[in-house]
């Protein structure tokens, strides 16, 4: 077995993974990636997943070794924000040509590293493997080793070519690269009893910054966030943290667990989405730090902050409570965060009529059941056609999902909110929940809906149909609140 397949096997064996705990030895060996159905598959590749996980490290040059497809079609398309360097948003690729495919691309890769160092002088370069260069046998580990020796700078191989599996596997392989080559290689200037790592948070739309002011107030220092708004050195020093929070995607569980093993950094799984989860996360951070020797008054300070923030949140909710009560939400996140968003929306009185559990673990599903009741409508793999129907039949008032299914909702002339990677709004922490609720409200009550659902003049003349589709929905949200001049009586 070559090194990569060994890595993949190892990652599949992840003992801390809830899904794995429920599996038999044999099933576990088979791994989490089902053979995809050709012609009926969706989703990114392992390389995509690796890039998502590591690109938020802002001062690193992320170099993609492969043909133009992998980087050329996808660069600068993710929403991770930076407080400093913009280098992470520069697209670097070896863009291999036919000759490289025949003779191998290792030379070009080595020279590319050299060019990047000469022109951009980053603290480190991450080299991403892709399908074609893996297939022709380019040994990126060897090239990175040679380049590191030659240029005296960390050149890190991220060996997650697309064809080994899906994004989730790519996240984990990226984590392995950090464990093997980066974490523990440098020392922080100083440490404090309040140093933590946050693992699996990418600072999409700046969400880390919705949480950081509260941590600052608690006196907690983020020694390293892996990988949102991180600098290379911070990740390299992360082994000196006292405790860690693993943001509740399973994406980087291997980092959290192995850092616990290697460096005795205890971790908990938490989420910054939703009020309860946010408060629990702050409490857990404080508790772990105190367990590790931080002064106990941290707990009180944290509790005071939580009290204040929760009160402020509920006050901010007052104007929305009546307006959002009973709103039916269809939640398609394609993944792991489902339950934490479910509880968040329920907290403000909305009703979740369905949620996707495609990538959720058993444990996640159990949590959803607890939250939504036994008859929770869990959707394993909803086709766009089914989503469309559900919306069109007004079984849901609004859909929250990733960008790809956006048009399913919009073409059904139903409200939609982006909650995945490329979203523009930040929804973390207390302030993020206020934003989320405000956005849902803005979307539901926009007077535009009533206008676009109105039939065209020629339709009204010829067919004498009821004047609006989705009448139930229109009555609830379109009517009354805004006085849109109505011409529905024409029919």
């Amino acid at each position: 077995m070559d090194a990569l397949s060994k890595k993949v096997q190892e990652v599949f064996d992840e003992p801390a993974c809830g899904k794995n705990q429920a599996k038999s030895e044999k099933d576990r060996k088979k791994g989490c990636t089902k053979q995809l159905a050709p012609g009926a598959a969706a989703g990114g590749c392992a390389f995509d997943g690796a890039k998502i996980a590591l690109q938020p490290i802002t001062d690193v040059a992320h170099l993609v070794h492969g043909p133009i497809a992998c980087e050329g079609n996808s660069w600068d398309n993710r929403g991770a924000k930076s407080s400093g360097s913009r280098l992470y948003r520069t697209g670097f690729t070896t863009d291999i040509n036919e000759l490289d495919v025949v003779y191998g691309g290792e030379k070009r890769l080595f020279k590319s590293v050299k060019e990047i160092i000469e022109k951009y002088d980053p603290p480190a370069i991450f080299v991403y493997q892709t399908c074609v260069t893996a297939l022709i046998g380019d040994d990126i580990e060897a090239v990175c080793k040679a380049a590191t020796a030659k240029f005296g700078k960390p050149v890190i191989p991220v060996n997650a070519p697309g064809f080994v599996g899906n994004k989730n596997l790519g996240n984990k392989l990226a984590g392995e690269a950090m464990l093997d080559y980066v974490i523990g290689t440098e020392e922080p200037e100083y440490t404090t009893p309040y140093d933590i790592n946050i693992i699996g948070e990418y600072n999409l739309a700046g969400e880390l910054w919705q949480v950081k002011p509260l941590l600052d107030e608690m006196g907690v220092r983020i020694l390293s966030c892996i990988s949102g708004d991180a600098k290379y050195k911070e990740v390299a020093c992360s082994h000196r943290a006292r405790a860690a929070m693993m943001v509740c995607s399973k994406a980087m569980i291997n980092i959290a667990r192995k850092m616990d093993e290697r460096y005795r950094i205890p971790f908990f799984e938490g989420s910054f989405y939703g009020i309860t989860d946010m408060s629990d996360s702050l409490r857990n951070i404080a508790r772990l730090l105190v367990d590790k020797g931080a002064p106990a008054e941290l707990l009180e300070r944290t509790e005071a902050i939580i009290q204040r923030e929760e009160a402020a949140f509920w006050q901010a909710m007052e104007p929305y409570k009546d307006r959002l009560k009973g709103v039916k939400v269809l939640l398609i996140t394609g993944g792991v965060k489902s339950w934490s968003v479910v509880s968040a929306l329920q907290e403000v009185g909305m009703e979740i009529v369905g949620t996707s559990v495609k990538k959720s673990t058993l444990e996640d599903k159990q949590k959803i059941k607890e939250l939504m009741g036994e008859d929770a409508h869990m959707i394993d793999d909803m086709t766009p056609r089914e989503m469309y129907k559900m919306l069109k039949d007004a079984q849901a008032d609004i859909m929250l999902s990733g960008g790809r299914s956006q048009f399913v909702a919009l073409k059904a002339k139903m409200p939609w909110l982006d909650i995945n990677q490329e979203r523009h709004h930040a929804y973390a922490g207390y302030s993020g929940m206020v934003t989320l609720v405000r956005e849902i409200d803005k979307s539901l009550y926009n007077p535009m809906w009533e206008q676009v659902r109105r039939p065209a003049p020629w339709e009204m003349q010829s067919e004498k149909k009821p004047a609006t589709e989705n009448t139930e929905h229109t009555e609830k949200f379109g009517g009354g609140l805004y006085s849109v001049p109505s011409v529905t009586s024409v029919a």
Binding site: L36, C45, C70, T90, T94, D95, L135, P384
Partner: protein, 455 residues
């Protein structure tokens, strides 16, 4: 006459280029009830899909044969077969367009061979058209993939037949937006022709709101139309990269053709009008006479602002040709020009130098340019250079209305000129008391236009 240079460096920085397979996939999206499919690993399709969704703000049908490491090494026959069967069952398309990727080309999958076997094995697929085009990621760029797909479609599906009076083929290059295509259709119809447009993104990607949900494309060139392209009176290819497809139609079905490199610019539109007048025997309709005169007027008004301006432009060859010539024809200078792939047009461009390179090359040459024109990925460099930025081409993910940007025809050209002139107008520098003071040696010349223009 420009010197064409292929940039010599190992690492592309800030790519301008996108891959050929997704160019082919977009061409397939211009067919009605089609499922574009990449023969490769799932990620290639996912990236293409996200890119098109963000550009068109539309649901995009696109599938994958979902190759993995093992199936790649064994060969993709089973995956191609399964993909076709699955798509046939789930989406019921009229046509599946398959484009290869770097992965399956490196292995050397003979997909045309597979298709023959699959056809024999599955008579139930008799009514389903399946067209395969070879587009290795490591050869050429987006517009090359588009060109190959259209040529292959014609090669496989066009049928020679008795001429259908008034029917003409329009082979639409990838530089044309759905809005452009709509404009072109109108022009042809105004001359009494019935155009068959291939590919026709105006039907499928124009942002209409259908009454039903469909997993395949909705609108676009139908299979029937594709077949009868062989019976048209003549073919007009728009864009040099459409020449091969036009030639193919001529060789196979004897349809004569003309190539117009672009439909942007007074001269290009005039050529189209002469051509259509000649072929139809009808005089140009009044509305185009009026539109021509509006364009002439727009040129007169705009030249004050465009003259002497330095332009940095990064675009695929055929888009570059149209926009570059328009601006050079308005007195602007094509100072920094970068493109993605080889084309016979490049050396004819009115520029000193054309690079086949990336946005880093463009940025390095754009220091004192007055305007940057490229796709949305130019946003970072525009900010760094602090110069105005006009988005053109694919992807355009940070603006609405990419599909409806019209630059073809008199009207489209007129509006593009206004847009560009307005950018310069809003950037105009207010004179300051010290503008004409002789401080440095260069200050002697007209300071208000030269130095101000850089900002």
């Amino acid at each position: 006459m420009a010197s064409v240079t292929h940039v010599k460096k190992s690492c592309a920085v800030n790519p301008l280029k996108m891959s050929a397979p997704i160019g082919a996939a977009l061409a397939f999206m211009g067919l009605d009830n089609c499922m574009p499919t990449l023969h490769g690993s799932q990620g290639c399709t996912a990236f293409g899909l996200v890119l098109f969704v963000r550009h068109f703000k539309e649901a995009v049908p696109m599938q994958t044969t979902a190759m993995n490491e093992a199936t790649t090494i064994m060969g993709g026959m089973d995956n191609v077969e399964q993909a076709i069967l699955n798509i046939h069952k789930r989406a019921q398309p009229s046509i599946i367009g398959i484009a290869s990727t770097g992965l399956t080309e490196t292995k050397g999958d003979d997909v045309d061979g597979y298709l023959e076997i699959i056809r024999k094995k599955h008579p139930e697929l008799a009514d389903l058209a399946v067209v395969y085009v070879s587009t290795p990621d490591y050869v050429g760029a987006f517009q090359d993939g588009w060109a190959k797909a259209v040529a292959k479609l014609v090669k496989e599906l066009a049928e020679p037949g008795p001429k259908i009076a008034g029917q003409v083929n329009v082979l639409a290059g990838s530089q044309l937006t759905p809005g452009d295509i709509e404009e072109i259709r109108e022009i042809f119809e105004a001359f009494g022709f019935k155009p068959v447009i291939l590919p026709d993104l105006s039907g499928s990607m124009d942002g209409h709101v259908p009454d039903n949900f469909s997993p395949t494309t909705l609108g676009g060139t139908t299979l029937t139309e594709l077949r009868i392209t062989g019976a048209s009176e003549f073919t007009l290819a728009i864009g040099e990269h459409m020449r091969d497809a036009a030639q193919m139609l001529k060789d196979k079905c004897g349809v004569p053709f003309e190539v117009l490199e672009t439909l942007t610019g007074l001269d290009a539109c005039d050529r189209l009008m002469s051509l259509l007048t000649g072929k139809s025997g009808r005089p140009a309709p009044n509305k185009y006479r009026r539109q021509r005169s509006q364009l002439v007027d727009a040129m007169l008004d705009a030249h004050f602002y465009t003259g002497g301006k330095k332009i940095a432009i990064g675009a695929e060859p055929d888009l570059l040709w149209g926009v570059g010539n328009l601006l050079a024809g308005m007195g602007a200078e094509l100072t920094a020009v970068v493109t993605t792939t080889a084309s016979p047009l490049l050396e004819k461009l009115p520029a000193q130098e054309v690079l086949i390179g990336d946005l880093e090359d463009l940025e390095n040459r754009s220091q004192d340019c007055d305007l940057l024109i490229t796709h949305s990925h130019g946003r970072q460099m525009a900010e760094r250079l602090d110069i105005p930025f006009l988005r053109m081409g694919i992807p355009m993910f940070d603006r609405l209305g990419a599909a409806h940007q019209v630059t073809a025809g008199y009207r489209g050209t007129r509006d593009l000129l206004f847009q560009i002139a307005n950018i310069f107008m809003s950037e105009a520098h207010e004179p300051l008391p010290d503008d004409w003071r002789n401080t440095e040696s260069e200050g002697a010349s007209c300071g208000s236009c030269s130095s101000a223009a850089a900002h």
